[in-house]
Structures are given as C-alpha cells and as structure tokens.
Amino acid sequence: MAREFIPGVFWIQECGANLNDLAAAMLMGSHDWYRQGREIHIPQNAYLFVGKKTLLFDTLSPASSNQILTELSDILGDRPLDYLVVSHTDTPHAGNTFKILRAYPRATLVGPRYGDAHELYHLEDAFKVGEGDSIDLGSFTLKFHEATFLDAPISVWMTEANTGMLLPVDWIGMPHMDGECLKCVDELDTQVDADRLLQFHGRVFFWLQYVNAPKTIAEIGRINRQFNPNIIAPSHGLVIRQDASRYMDLMKDVVQSISDRGRVGVVG
C-alpha cells in the first residue's frame, strides 16, 4: 500500500528481502538504532507525483512488478501516467520500465542525459534530462540535476521546487526494521544516526574507501548549500521531512568513517 506522505506525492515501497546477514552483523556491535530479533529491510522506493499531469520516479525491482503495477492502477485509476523517469539503469530502479510502459503506452520515458551508450540500456529514445531541465506537472515542478554521489554513469537526481524535496536516489539511504516501513524518519521510535547511515553507505558506496575524505566532505557541504532541502526522499531509505540538512551533514561523519575503516560489508 502506497503512502501519500504529502498531498499529491505517493511513496511506493518495496521491502521484499529480509537481510539476515545485515541483522546478524548488527548484533555483533553496538548499534543504538537496532532492536534484536527485528527484521532489517533496505527498501526500493518509487515516488508518484500527481498534479495536473502525473510522473513516476523509478520503478522498483523486477521482484515487485505486480506491486508497482497494482499501486499505479489503484492511485491513478483512469488517469494516464504522463512521465516515467528512470533515475539510472540499475535493475532495482529501472527493472519494471517496460512493463510500466506497456501498461501506460502514452507515458513519456525520461532518462539521464549523462554517461554514454544509452542504447545498451534501451534509453536511446528516452527524453534525456540533466542540469537545467524541468518538467511542470501543474502543482509540482520537477527539476533535474547531475547526480553527485552515484553508481552508474547514466544517472540523474531530481528536486521538486514547491516542496523543497530532494530525490538523491542512492544517496542518504538507510536500513529500517519491520514495523517501520513507509514511516518518515520523524515518526520513528529509533534513531537515524551516523551509524545507521553508515550501515547502508558502507555497503553500497564501497568506493568511499578509496577517496580523499576532506574533498568528499567538502562536496557534501556544497550540495547541502546548493539544494538546502526541506524533504529528502531517497530510493533506499525512509523519507526525511524535518531538519533535512542535519542528515546531509551526518553524511560527513559517514564518509570519514568509511575512509577510516573501509567497506563495512555488502547488501544481501
């Protein structure tokens, strides 16, 4: 079941895999946010914006094809899907692209203009977007940005101008426990601290172990100043809608920690 976490913006979440290895790892150390015996999820999120026009940002993974199609049908009813934005070509983000386009054949496929060889990802005919491009849905204005912290070179970040929402895709993800699915961070009984963010980024952003930490931390400061978000809607975590810049700043500690200690593990 999707959640309309602000009027007109629906959060569709896939929490399929119980990450037993991650839960076991949490029991080995001191992690204030984790409660023994609870399942751990690292979700895939898709976000549906419903204004005068409609736009879906990412598609969930192929393991949840039925879920995304059902959610779209339940929310949109007879309305069309006007835009499908693929943030990048990783399967958990783009894996249902063609199933959605078959269900909504009039939707415009929107993809990143960055990187090259788009044809190898079936994006050669997509409407390409990047820094300076925007889509007006009526009550929402989506703007596109070069992805600062990313995996695939064909990637794009998005902001929504009226709400001050940043959708940083793989950045600022975090694990959550059973019972916390589709909750915003301000609704949790547990903390989202640097350690919780580390458990995601220390597995996914493995390359942070090879970076110049001061330079990377300076970049975090820059994007915090650039976006100054009110809301952060990540692809692999819970929505942050209060004190968002504080969580951006926490990422400086996360980068320093990965730089000091290396990769903390893998997802799965």
């Binding site: 192929p62 894996g95 190898l120 799965g268």
Partner: protein
C-alpha cells in the same frame, strides 16, 4: 542450433580462455562489451553474458567455439545490462544452466534462479575454483571481480578498461605499438567511473597491488577494454594511476 559459416572466431588468449570481443561504437570510438569463454574438463563457462545488442553474434561465436556443445555455466560480475543482458536468452537456448550472480540480492537483479557468490569467498563451478574479490574499480555495489584459479585470469568487469579505435578491436594491450594509449584509458575511466573525481590514487594503487600480491595473475580481462597480459601490467598501472590523478586533479569542489 545453427552455425553461421561467417561467424567471427573468438580470440584465444590462453589454452583455455577465449575472448568474445564485441564492440559498441560511441562518440567516434569503440567500447568493448566483451564476454570471456572458459573451457573446463566439464564444459564451457562464460564470464558475463554480454549485451542484448550483440546477442546473435555472441551466441553464434559461442556455438562455433564450443563445437555446438554450448554453455554449462554463466558467472556474472554484476547485473548491469551490458553484462547480464543475455542470461535469459542463453538459458532458453542451453537449458537451466548454472548462473552465478555477484553479491547482493539476485531477486532484486531479476535473477531469482541464480546462485549467489560472496565477496571474499570462492565457488566451484563445473569443477573449477573461482574467487570473488571486492573490486577497487567498479560502479555498482554488487560488483565482484572474478579470479579463475585454473587459467589465472582476473576478470575485472568495469574496471581496468579503455576505449579503442576501429582496427584495434582484437588486440591485447601488448599488441598496440607502445601499449594502449593513456588518453584511451583516461577517457574511459573519466566517463565510466565518475567517482574517480574524489579518488586518492595512493589508496587505489595500494588496493590493486594487494590483489596482485594475493592472486597469481596471468591476464587482466576487462569487459570494456583490451586484455592485459601480466608482463604488461606495470605499463598499464602507470597509465591507470596517472588517469586517476588527472581525473581527481581536474575536479575542484565548487565553492
């Protein structure tokens, strides 16, 4: 299963490893989207499956190289489409052959039938030992570099690559006059691995050298570059580290 008499032959890199050197033209140059074929006593294994874009060519070259026996297993460095784009087609053609997925959750990668490898671990595939290595040069988090203990090949997925130009598609690094030029190594990594703008090249070099010390390597086999015999690894490394330094030095965090 038909065999096209006009099929390009695979390129023999060692007695048991052949290179299926497919290319994609991009921005006036070529990028390899390669597949490697390993012959074992129990059957044939490919490392990565190639792109849908080259499907028929890869299939035909496998059919010819294996004497129509086909595949016994597929090992994936990761599930990015140019690496995993032919898994379903090859399973339809050669049956429910073993598919070894990289670390991560195979179901989320569209590979619910795959066996998962573990970074830092080893697996026996068709009687052959393969080790799975935390990759210092990669984009996706679920990528593994793969070491074949039989051939001593290190398969480096998106890392250690380079662009090349028409006429260079079938060359190994050592067959270029002077080796693959720095500019082609630099341009590839600048495009493919955007995070190198933050890299500390000393850390990168240290990690690569620790892998070389741990594994007795005969060949480096990238998916997006010309293979590198170990006697040329020093020359490649000099250009790679220069690449990392240049990419990092060219990017200053805006104030």
């Amino acid at each position: 299963m038909g065999v096209d008499q006009g099929v390009r032959p695979t390129i023999k890199l060692s007695p048991g490893v052949e290179w299926i050197n497919e290319c994609y033209p991009t921005q006036g140059r070529h990028e390899h989207v390669s597949v490697y074929l390993i012959r074992t006593a129990s059957g044939y294994i490919i490392v990565d499956s190639g792109s849908y874009y080259h499907r028929e060519s890869v299939r035909s070259r496998i059919v010819t190289a294996t004497g129509q026996r086909g595949l016994g297993a597929i090992i994936l460095s990761h599930a990015d489409y140019p690496h995993s784009g032919n898994v379903d087609a090859f399973r339809r053609e050669w049956g429910e052959i073993d598919v070894i997925a990289s670390s991560g959750v195979p179901e989320l990668q569209g590979l619910p039938f795959a066996k998962k490898s573990k970074i830092g671990g080893s697996l026996d595939v068709l009687g052959r030992k393969f080790s799975f290595i935390d990759p210092p040069l990669a984009d996706r988090s679920h990528t593994s570099w793969i070491y074949d203990h039989g051939s001593r090949f290190l398969f480096t997925a998106d890392g250690m690559g380079n662009y090349h130009h028409p006429g260079q598609c079938a060359l190994t690094f050592g067959e270029f006059p002077g080796g693959v030029p720095f500019s082609d190594i630099y341009e590839y990594h600048r495009t493919a691995l955007a995070w190198l703008r933050y890299v500390d090249s000393a850390r990168l070099r240290a990690r690569l050298e620790s892998i070389y010390a741990q594994f007795d390597i005969s060949f480096i086999a990238p998916v997006h570059g010309n293979p590198i015999a170990v006697e040329h690894l020093g020359a490649f490394m000099d250009r790679l580290i220069e690449t990392a330094n240049r990419i990092a030095n060219e990017y200053e965090v805006p104030t």
